[in-house]
Every structure is written in C-alpha cells, then in structure tokens.
C-alpha cells in the first residue's frame, strides 16, 4: 500500500506539468491581456508598453512559462497583476471561507442524501421513493443561480430573516451565530445540488445490491431487514458512492463559482471569476494548479477507500 501511494505521488509530477502547460496556454490564448485593466484614457502608448514590459508580458510564451515554473519550484506563486499582492497571500485569505462553505455543504448533503438514497432503494416504487427521487430530480434540474436568487428573494428580501450574502455583518461583531446565519442560504443551495446527485447514485447502487444473490442468502438465513441492510447491504453499495465523493472532494478547495458569486462569498470560486475578468494570470494559474492537485489527491483517497471497503480490490 505504501509503495502504491508513493508510486501514485510520483506520477503526480509529470501530470501536473502537463496540466500546467495546458492551463498556461489556454489562459494566455484568451483574448485581452492584463494591462487592459490598467489602461486609463490619460496613459500614453509608451506607458502601456512599459507596464507590459515590467510584467514580462512581452517575452515569448515559452520564456514566460519557464519563469513561472522556476518560481513555482521555489514555492513562489508570484504577484497578482491587478492588486500587486503576493498570490499566496490572496489565496490564504480566500481558501478559508471556501473550505468552510464547501465542507459544511458536503457534510450536510451526504448526511441527508446517503440515508435518503438507501431508504428510497429499500422502499423502491413506494410513495417515499417517489418523493425522494422527485426531490432529487428537482435538485438536479434547478440551476444554482435560480435557487440562490429565489432563496434570497424569499428569506432575505421578503421575510428579512437571513442576510443576502457575505460571511458576516460588517462593522459589528456578530459572533458565531451571525456567521451561521450567513452560511445558511449558500449551504442550502450547494447541499441541495450535491445531495440531489448523491441520492441518485446511492439509490441505484443500493437497488443493485438488493438484487444480488447474497441478499437472498441473508434473507434465507433469517436476518431481519435492518440486519440485512446493515451487515450485507450498505458496505457493498459504497463503491459507487465513494466514486461520487471522490468527484466532489476537489470542490472543497476549488469552490463554487456561481454560488459564491450570488452570495458574495469571498472564496476561491469568486476569486477565480474576478481574476478571469482581470486576466490575472498568476492567480488563475495558482487556482488551476491547486484544483489539479486536489483532484489528484482525491483520486488517491478514492482508491484507498475502495480497498478499505472491498477486500477484492488490492494494490499491486
């Protein structure tokens, strides 16, 4: 197992290189450039050129990439083009809120979705099942901006019981309860999306398990339905569920682009949008690389979890 993980970690290096090259190309191919953001009517062409030169934007792409890579190797993420603040400082400010929002949303989503999906499978084709699958399809079909704006309209504008966005009240120290109040709406939006997806997988995976012969064996042994579910059902149904979890994990650091925008949540997702708008290459590259690392680590975690759950899966 240790050997396997080390091997996987070593594979990271070439993979991250490829990703960085791809991302660097795409980011630089996008129309517009960072200097456009600084341009004001009273700037001369020489001044614009001088800024470009200072940012290294006039170098050939290969040189720019080489510079970026050598900096990254030294642990230097560079400076933001637009704010001149070190990228690492910006990220460290933004990662906290995203981690908080995404991890709470995922925990809430799974705590609801996995039991509901299993229940729905256990009572397949019953009213409970129809309600759960109905909710799940509604969750999948509702775009997050629509749900988010709808919730803001109802709870913030009409009922005035919850804030429209942000992480806390400005100017006053509202404490923990205030933070919690700010979390409610974005968590509902994100959790409903994660949950809707997870319910479908949990349900179908559990239904599949219920049709297996070993469930019939367990019934013939005289086990009660709950014992069958607990001892023979859940563990076997976990593999597809783990796959979905693995796909969700990177979002914990990657953030949620739309939802963070709607609720003015100062996380990685909204940072990404603003840095795309200002063509802030160093920030964009940093976010891309962090997401890439998160995906790779999530993949390893998923593989380890597979092996823990299913004795047939062995590392070699």
């Amino acid at each position: 197992m240790k050997k396997y993980i080390i091997k996987r970690l070593l594979i990271f290096i070439p993979v991250l290189f490829m990703i960085s090259i791809g991302a660097f190309l795409i980011v630089n191919l996008a129309p517009g450039n960072p200097v456009d953001m600084y341009v004001s009517p009273d700037m001369t062409v020489e001044q614009i050129e001088a800024t470009k030169e200072a940012l290294g934007l006039n170098d050939p792409l290969i040189v720019q990439y080489a510079k970026w890579v050598t900096n990254i190797m030294r642990g230097n993420l560079g400076f933001s083009f637009s704010s001149r603040i070190p990228v690492s400082t910006i990220l460290s400010q933004r990662v906290g809120p995203t981690l908080l929002l995404m991890s709470i949303s995922l925990v809430v989503a799974y705590a609801l979705a996995i039991p509901l999906g299993i229940l729905s499978a256990k009572k397949q084709n019953s009213i409970v099942d129809y309600i759960v699958t109905g909710l799940s399809f509604t969750g999948i079909s509702l775009p997050s901006f629509f749900l988010g704006l709808g919730l803001i309209y109802v709870f913030a504008v009409q009922l005035k019981c919850l804030p429209t966005g942000g992480t806390k009240l400005l100017g006053v120290d509202g404490g923990f309860s205030d933070q919690l109040r700010h979390l409610i709406l974005p968590v509902i939006v994100l959790a409903s999306q994660f949950a809707a997806n997870m319910i479908r997988y949990a349900r179908s995976s559990m239904i599949e398990v219920y049709n297996e012969n070993y469930i019939r064996t367990a019934t013939a042994k005289g086990l009660k339905p709950m014992q069958i579910l607990k001892n023979h059902g859940v563990r076997n149904a976990l593999i597809p569920i783990i796959t979905v979890i693995g796909a969700d994990i990177p979002k914990i650091v990657g953030g949620a682009i739309v939802t963070e925008q709607i609720f003015q949540w100062p996380g990685i997702g909204s940072l990404m949008v603003s840095s795309i708008n200002s063509r802030d290459y160093p920030v964009l590259m940093a976010i891309t690389m962090i997401s890439a690392v998160a995906v790779l680590i999530a993949n390893i975690l998923v593989d380890i979890m597979y092996a823990v759950v299913d004795p047939r899966i062995k590392f070699s």
Partner: protein, 351 residues
C-alpha cells in the same frame, strides 16, 4: 409414515404479475416431506420447481408474487399465514437453503467465518466468539482444509466448490430440520459436483435432516433421492420412490425424461427426445399442458387435465393412461428395458 411428516405442501398455486399478464408458475402442487428423507423435485426450467420451494421459505419477490391458494404446514403452522417476524425465526433455523450459484450467493465483503456465524448469533443467541468457533467447526465438517484460516478469508479467495461447501456449512449452522437445496451442483463441474453430493449425503445421514433437492439432472436424483417428484408446467405429474420413478414410470413425460438420458449401451437407436417446448404459463392450455408434446396423448388429454392416479401407496401419476378405460400403450424401448431390469432385480431379491 404419517407421523414422520415434517412438511406438507397442499394445493400450492403461485402466479406472477407481469406486464404481459399473469404467469401461472405453480398450479396446484401437493407433496409431503418426511423426516430424514431426500425428496428430489425434477423438471425443466420454468416447471415451477424452484418457485414452489422458494415459497416454503417465503423468499419470492413480494411485489409481483401472488400465492393464489394452498397451505404449507410445518410443525402445525401454515407458513403462508404466519407473520414475517415469525418466518424470520424459522428461516435459517428450521428451514435452511442452499442456492444454485455459490459464486454470487456469498457476500463478497464479509469474511466466511462471520457469514456462517451470523445465523448462529441470531438464532442460537451465541456470542460472537463462540459463534465463530462453531463456524470453524462447521467449515471443518464440510471438508475445508485449514478451517481456522478459511474462516478469516473472503469468498473471492475460495473456489466454486469450496464456496458451495461454505454454503452447506451455513445451511447446517443451526441444525435445521429441513434443507432446501436449489440446484446446488448446477454451477459446478462434474468432479466437484460428485464431491458436493457425497458430502450432502454423508451429512444428511449424520444429522438426520430432511432435504428437498431441486434439480433437472436425473443422474443427481439417482444418487441423492429417496423419493422423486416430477414437475411439468407448474404441477407435479408423477411422484414416487426413486425405484418406482426410475424403473416403473407411468407418465409419458417421465418416460421421455428417462429415455433421453444418454447411456453407455446406446447402440442401434438414436437418443430419444421430447419434441416441442413447455407451454407458456401466461396462457395455460386447456386439458393436459403436456398433451401437445405427448405422442401417447389421448383425445381426453386435450379436453381435461388428468387427476393423480394411484399406482401404489407411494406412487402416483397424473396421466389418463392410468384410467381403467385407457388403451394399453407401449412406452419407449428404453423405459421397457428399465422395467425389465427392475423386475429382474425384484426377482433376485425374492430368491
């Protein structure tokens, strides 16, 4: 014999609701199982043998299965009427099952020992340690070498034959009064099949369990059974002791089955076969469902289903040929030979 009856199935009729309509899978099945005996139920796929035995343990899918009539009497209780909770106390404890496919009938993510121990824990209220100890003993009894180690392995580390041994150990765990074995050797190759059958015979003699043995393999029947019930289109069409069925069969369908067993002395004639295929039980035909395939069919076979005619105290068959007014017919040559062999055997016994 009366008092040693352990299970009575009376006029059991089961149908499945499908999109096409109602499939009459079992259309009135009656049989008894005696203490310590092996009753084999033989028949083609779809003849209802598996369905009628699954009904005993009530493990048919609930949603689309309808028990239309019948009683299944076990220890003065009708298993079709008792609560699901009561049934859970009988399954695995009094009536255990061995299934056809050992490759998929064991939970892939649970250790062998634990899977066997499970029913000991629920039915005999043993603690986990003792139950696992019992599981190891059982594994030893069914011939798993190094049972201690085996109990700590997962099913995928076992071969098919070994897994079926595990299934048998699991079935025996609580000393059941009845074991229902649903084609337990169909998925195994022939040498392993012989080993498993030997094991079952040996354990049956040791533990005096009754076995309901479902199979479509007449060779297996000869090796295992005390009595045989032949099923066709959801009904038992002939039932008798193994000698009566093999050497003095009465029903043309049984003739067909026996005549189509290939034998080493098959010389001048070709292998017999029963033409056609079984009826679709969505539309049960009028008269005897076997009539269209029956070269000995009488006119009445197409009009009315025959009742069970008594041949001896233990031997009954549902064919109009046994009616006193029926014409005498000569069964296939193979069956005639069998009858002669049987008579010779009997005469030798007398001498």
């Amino acid at each position: 014999m009366e008092e040693s009856k352990i299970l009575e199935v009376k006029d059991l009729a089961i149908s499945f609701k499908t999109f096409e309509g109602e499939v009459n899978a079992v259309r009135g099945v009656t049989f008894d199982l005696h203490k310590g005996e092996t009753l084999a139920i033989v028949g083609e796929s779809g003849s209802g043998k598996s369905v009628s035995t699954k009904a005993i343990n009530r493990i048919l899918p609930k949603k689309n299965t309808f028990i239309k009539s019948g009683e299944i009497i076990f220890e003065d209780k009708d298993l079709l009427k008792i609560s699901e909770k009561e049934m859970q106390g009988i399954r695995g404890k009094d009536i255990a099952m061995i299934f056809q496919d050992p490759m998929t009938s064991l939970n892939p993510t649970m250790k062998i020992g634990k899977q066997i121990a499970e029913s000991i824990i629920i039915h005999q209220h043993e603690n986990k340690g003792n139950a696992i100890k019992r599981a190891v003993e059982l594994l030893d009894m069914v011939g798993i070498k190094n049972p201690e180690k085996g109990s700590n392995l997962y099913p995928h580390q076992f071969s098919g034959g070994m897994r079926q041994r595990v299934m048998i150990a699991m079935a025996l765990a609580c000393h059941p009064k009845i074991i229902i074995a649903d084609e337990p050797t169909t998925a195994l190759d022939v040498t392993i099949q012989a080993q498993i059958l030997d094991l079952m015979n040996e354990l049956k003699d040791k533990l005096n369990t009754s076995i309901l043995f479902i199979t479509h393999d007449l060779g297996v029947v000869a090796q295992m059974a005390d009595r045989v019930a032949v099923m066709y289109a959801g009904k038992i069409i002939e039932i008798g002791t193994v000698d009566e069925i093999f050497y003095n069969p009465q029903h043309p369908y049984t003739w067909g089955l026996l005549a189509s067993i290939p034998s080493a002395d098959l010389e001048e004639h070709n292998l017999y076969n029963i033409n056609g295929s079984p009826p679709n039980l969505l539309y049960v035909p009028k008269g005897d469902p076997f009539a269209p395939r029956n070269e000995y069919a009488l006119e009445i076979d197409f009009e009315e289903e025959p009742e069970m005619f008594k041949v001896s105290d233990t031997h009954y068959a549902a064919t109009w040929l046994l009616h006193p007014d029926a014409p005498k017919v000569t069964p296939p040559i193979e069956v005639v030979r069998r009858r002669e062999k049987f008579l010779n055997l009997k005469m030798r016994e007398v001498i």
